[in-house]
Amino acid sequence: MREFDYRRAHDVPGALALLDAEPEARFLGGGTNLVDLMKTGVERPARLVDVRDLPLDRVESTSDGGLRIGATVTNSDLAAHPEVRRRYPALTQAVLAGASGQLRNMATVGGNLLQRTRCGYFADITKPCNKRVPGSGCPAIEGEHHNHAVLGASEHCVATHPSDMGVALAAFDAVVSYETPDGPGTLPFADFYLPVGDTPHRETALPPGALITGVTLPPTPVAARSRYRKVRERASYAFAIGSIAAALDVQGGVVHDVRLAFGAVASRPWRARTAERVLIGATADAETFAAAADAELAAARPLPHNAYKVTLMRNLVVAELTRLTEEAAR
């Protein structure tokens, strides 16, 4: 591991200044991904600016009935929060589906959004990787890609975003707030992650030197009836091979409102807006749900070893929307 300077920030302006003063500095949250990547040499910061003591550790209701989640709120505290569980249960379920109890106690909301892909080629510095070393190539396309992207990838990178939390945040139209030395800003979740294209090393639309300060969830009545389901290769403590956040409001047998987002299928949590458009106003039955899934997945471009994900996601859409319909009928 490269030697590095360590500073603990106590306020946001101080954190920004400490980062700005060292070109190769990185913010340190829970460190569950960054410290691991430093051990393997993928990340080689010259300075860490520890932001865990910043006063950004609260979950608060907004005046319009939404929630504002501070960037240093831990995954554990977010998942256990009564208002998250009441108003956005799929968000609690998504967070609890990720990592282990130990890691959820350490990991922060801001860090979760900025965690890196778990693609094996990205993690192995002896291998080419366009995300780690731009222009070096993508061995996953011809190699090991059974858990890689089927939507929104490019010939330069087929890595997936590993977050579970982010899938629920995408479904519920979260807005990311940040601060920079030039002032604050916000990014809707839909614009937060950049398209892969030929620049897979550029992952977010955050300006240089920005610090994520929080995530705001707008009031979303449909989210009170929501679920997150994660499919993985063992029962617990593993990354998804496919996951779904779904919220559904059925009135008189017709879909009145719906939110759908997919995990482990793209370089970002994938909001399934095409499927949502098919569903709104349609009869809430398995046939409609399958048609909506097919409309979304028509854009899928699977590789030889991950085509199963298209079938998996179709089945997840039908199963979870069916379950939400049945629960609403009770």
């Binding site: 300077d5 569950t32 860490l48 009441r86 379920q93 609890l96 282990s100 350490m106 029962a235």
Partner: protein, 187 residues
């Protein structure tokens, strides 16, 4: 603060099992290595060293963390409890007693991490935290019973290569039941 010269090491004071230790650490030092190599607290074990096995689990401000991904310098100011600190003198912690009585181990290497994790699992459950095994996470649904399925999910961050899981689940259930029984008597 920002004008201080850059340095790759710091003098830190770590509070471990109620005792303060001041030492100079290279910033690359994990809490795990500081505990084992500098403070001679070798109960905490190094397994994978990448946050995947749970052998290095300790309590930080009462919450379970993996000490292999925790930098020692970043642990300054926090209360650290290792397996050496969970008993009260000669009286073992109830979770330790339950692991002993029910054979919640074979080789024992993962056991300190299992015990620290189990202590926290029981507190998390008592605080009403749901888990990925909880069917209805809404607060109105109330806390889920600590079933074997709930215990397996909550303990999934601690691997046991010997496969002593069946007895580990029994030990956690026993310690949790004893704790709630004691609470009822106290009430």
């Amino acid at each position: 603060m920002s004008s201080a010269p850059s340095s790759t090491y710091s003098a830190v004071t770590l509070t471990v099992n109620g005792e303060k230790h001041t030492l100079t650490v290279d910033h690359r030092t994990t809490l795990l290595d500081a505990l084992r190599e500098r403070l001679d607290l070798t109960g905490t074990k190094k397994g994978c060293d990448q946050g995947q096995c749970g052998a290095c689990t300790v309590l930080v401000d009462g919450r379970r963390n993996v000490s292999c991904l925790q930098l020692a310098v970043a642990a300054e100011g926090r209360e650290i409890t290792t397996v050496e600190g969970v008993a009260e003198g000669d009286r073992l912690h109830p979770v330790q007693e339950a692991f002993l009585e029910l054979d919640g181990y074979q080789c024992g290497y993962c056991t300190p991490g299992q015990i620290c994790s189990a202590i926290a699992v029981i507190e998390e459950h008592a605080a009403g935290w749901p888990s990925a095994a909880t069917d209805d996470v809404r607060p109105e649904a109330g806390p889920p019973p600590l079933t074997p399925e709930e215990i397996r999910e909550r303990m999934s961050g601690n691997l046991c290569r010997c496969g002593a899981y069946v007895a580990i689940v029994e030990a956690v259930a026993r310690a949790a039941a004893d704790r709630s029984a004691a609470k009822e008597v106290a009430a």
